[in-house]
């Protein structure tokens, strides 16, 4: 489902060059739940951004769903829209939009009717147990609820792959457990492939496999 070969990522700023990732090889089969661990600054987010097609590797090849992705910005946006879902550490909900409108965002970039969008968004919210909060604004929800809205938004377009960068990083452990339960349920029931960055051993141990990075290199 996800295949990385000899991936390098170099950040070039005016003075310094940072080798954020070096010679990364990774193969995630369909339906696997992988967690990525490592110390701060080792390149976890960089790796996830590359898989999420939000950034491009400096060298190496990356394939999503058997397709090499080295295309135009436009086509990358298409692939992100159809095949990928994102969950962020800081939720990134749009504060000016109601919960239901936040969840609809990925569908805005697909051809479908407003009613159809609404139906899918309501179903996604139902999936994370927040049907009753559709008309609320994000700030009226707890952190755990906000992250559940973010998950609903990530899965509303039924992507094959879910990418989560420290989804529990801003939550207390009870809320974190709640989020992990939802992710496992999605992985089990929808066969969604999940790559999750986490600092929490407890959560990482529950996943199928742990990928460890150190200083931009894969160590396990």
């Amino acid at each position: 489902m996800i295949k990385l070969e000899n991936i390098d990522k170099v950040y070039r700023t005016a003075r310094v060059e940072t080798l954020a990732l070096h010679n990364i090889n990774l193969d995630v089969p369909s339906g696997e739940f992988v967690s990525v661990m490592g110390p701060s600054g080792c390149g976890k987010s960089t790796l996830l951004n590359l898989i999420g097609l939000l950034d491009r590797p400096t060298a190496g090849t990356l394939a999503i769903d058997g397709q090499n992705v080295e295309t135009s910005e436009r086509k990358l946006a298409r692939v992100r829209n159809e095949k990928l879902g994102f969950v962020f550490q800081t939720f990134h909900l749009v504060p000016d939009l109601k919960v239901i409108d936040n969840v609809e965002i990925p569908l805005l970039y697909r051809k479908m009717s407003g009613a159809q969008r609404r139906k899918l968004a309501a179903a996604a919210l139902d999936r994370v147990g927040l049907s009753s909060r559709m008309q609320h604004f994000p700030t009226q929800l707890s952190g755990g609820q906000q992250q559940r809205v973010a998950i609903a938004r990530a899965i509303v377009g039924k992507p094959r792959i879910l990418l989560a960068d420290e989804p529990t990083g801003n939550l207390d452990s009870a809320m974190g457990d709640e989020i992990m339960d939802i992710l496992h349920e999605l992985n089990r029931e929808e066969k969604t492939t999940i790559v999750m960055v986490t600092h929490d051993d407890r959560f990482a141990r529950r996943t199928d496999r742990i990928v460890r990075l150190f200083d931009g290199r894969r160590v396990a």
């Binding site: 951004n49 999420g52 939000l54 950034d55 910005e73 436009r74 946006a77 298409r78 692939v79 992100r80 829209n81 159809e82 879902g85 994102f86 962020f88 800081t90 990134h92 749009v94 000016d96 939009l97 409108d101 609809e104 965002i105 990925p106 805005l108 970039y109 407003g114 938004r153 377009g157």
Partner: protein
């Protein structure tokens, strides 16, 4: 679309201070533009008593041109209009009348100043005055030199006070007694052919020069065509006639005159240089368009700056939309649309305010005679201006937003 609109309104209500500043700038700018648009519309579009002017051509000027740039131009004479305009084949009606001139009217020894025109009978068949009393002047009045007059309700008030009937009363104009035969609703000064306070037949008070051979005088001529489609033919015929005129004055080699719409006449008078340059209408139209654009530039810049300052505050949203596959075009459309919502709101406020300003102008500037108003056409122009303004000022910030790198945007918006 609904999602974008609710978001746009939401963003506006959340950022009250920015919204207030932007709306203020937009509505004041559009207010001024709308007042000018309304005045222009009131001057140049056919309105009573010039309702038929969509098919009227005006002969308001005759010019003389000589070698070395000498020129001279002015209102036409009676003789000129009588000979070259009144006899134009294919015209439905032609009227000849004097330019508006100040005169003193005496009633019971009391003096009232008023604007006077002398007209033929056709004048009253081309213009559609609203009669409150009596009748119009006729061709018979003119040929007989009958001492009869039509006055406005405003002059009636000044002369007789209150709502007294004026028809049949006698007033003294230029020391001669005239019987009032009709009263019409007052006319705004913007009507170049219709404006006056009192009208009498040409032959009663024709100013000196009535019978001369000179080409310049103090007359205006209007030609009512059967339809606008006849304009080119009438103009061609007129041009042929003018080209055949031999100037009497040796300093000049050619005589120029043309049949114009009201706007074309205005454009001809407006700019310096050769009034008969064929590009003058274009020149005047571009001049005012550029003036309007310059006037919009500052508030537009203000909107651009506010738009740019919002990029940082919305970078998370931009990052999310990009991550979930928003193409650049969709983002640009979204942010331009938001800007349009703002400018349309501003335009609505500006439109209401301009209605108030026009009402004040109507009440305080006597010469306007209550002739300034708003209509659907002006509203349409206003919305057009607002749309243009909104797109122009929204495009650059929107383009910048759409260019953000998704990772940078999610991290907190590095431009």
């Amino acid at each position: 679309m609904r999602n974008y609109l609710t978001l746009a309104l939401k963003v506006l209500t959340r950022r009250k201070f920015f919204t207030f500043i932007s709306l203020f700038g937009v509505s004041v700018t559009l207010l001024v533009l709308m007042v000018f648009t309304a005045i222009a519309d009131n001057v140049f579009s056919p309105r009573a008593p010039e309702s038929r002017f969509d098919r009227v051509l005006c002969a308001y000027a005759v010019g003389w041109y000589g070698d070395g740039g000498t020129s001279h131009s002015g209102w036409p004479s009676y003789a000129f209009l009588d000979k070259y305009v009144r006899t134009l084949p294919g015209a439905e009606k032609v009227a000849v009348f004097t330019t508006p001139e100040g005169t003193a009217i005496y009633k019971d020894g009391r003096r009232t100043d008023a604007i006077l025109r002398t007209t033929d009978g056709e004048y009253w068949r081309i213009l559609d005055f609203r009669f409150l009393e009596g009748r119009a002047l006729t061709n018979a009045d003119d040929t007989q030199g009958a001492y009869v007059a039509v006055i406005t309700d405003k002059l009636r008030e000044q002369l007789f006070g209150g709502k007294v009937k004026a028809e049949g009363q006698t007033i003294s104009i230029d020391g001669r007694p005239f019987r009032v035969v009709g009263v019409v609703k007052r006319v705004p000064a913007m009507r170049l052919a219709g404006y006056a306070d009192v009208w009498v037949p040409l032959r009663t008070l024709a100013p000196s020069g009535f019978e001369t051979e000179m080409l310049n005088g103090h007359y205006q001529g209007i030609v009512l065509a059967k339809s606008r489609a006849d304009f080119p033919r009438l103009r061609r015929e007129f041009a042929t006639r003018i080209a055949a005129i031999k100037p009497i004055d040796p300093r000049f080699t050619t005589v120029k005159s043309s049949l114009d719409t009201t706007f074309q006449f205005f454009a001809r008078m407006f700019a310096p240089g050769n009034q008969y340059d064929p590009n003058r209408v274009l020149f005047t139209a571009s001049f005012f368009s550029i003036l309007a654009l310059l006037f919009m530039a500052l508030p537009a810049l203000n909107l651009v700056i506010i738009g740019l300052s919002r990029i940082l505050e919305r970078s998370s949203e931009i990052g999310v939309r990009k991550a979930f596959g928003a193409p650049r075009g969709a983002l640009i459309r979204q942010f331009v649309l938001e800007n349009l919502v703002l400018t349309f709101l501003g335009a609505l406020i500006g439109f209401v305010l301009s209605g108030i300003v026009l009402a004040i102008l109507n009440g305080t500037v006597p010469i306007v005679n209550g002739g300034l108003d708003l209509n659907v056409r002006i509203f349409f122009y206003a919305m057009l201006i607002a749309a243009f303004f909104g797109v122009v000022s929204g495009l650059y910030p929107a383009w910048r937003m759409s260019r953000l790198h998704p990772v940078a945007a999610l991290r907190g918006g590095v431009l």
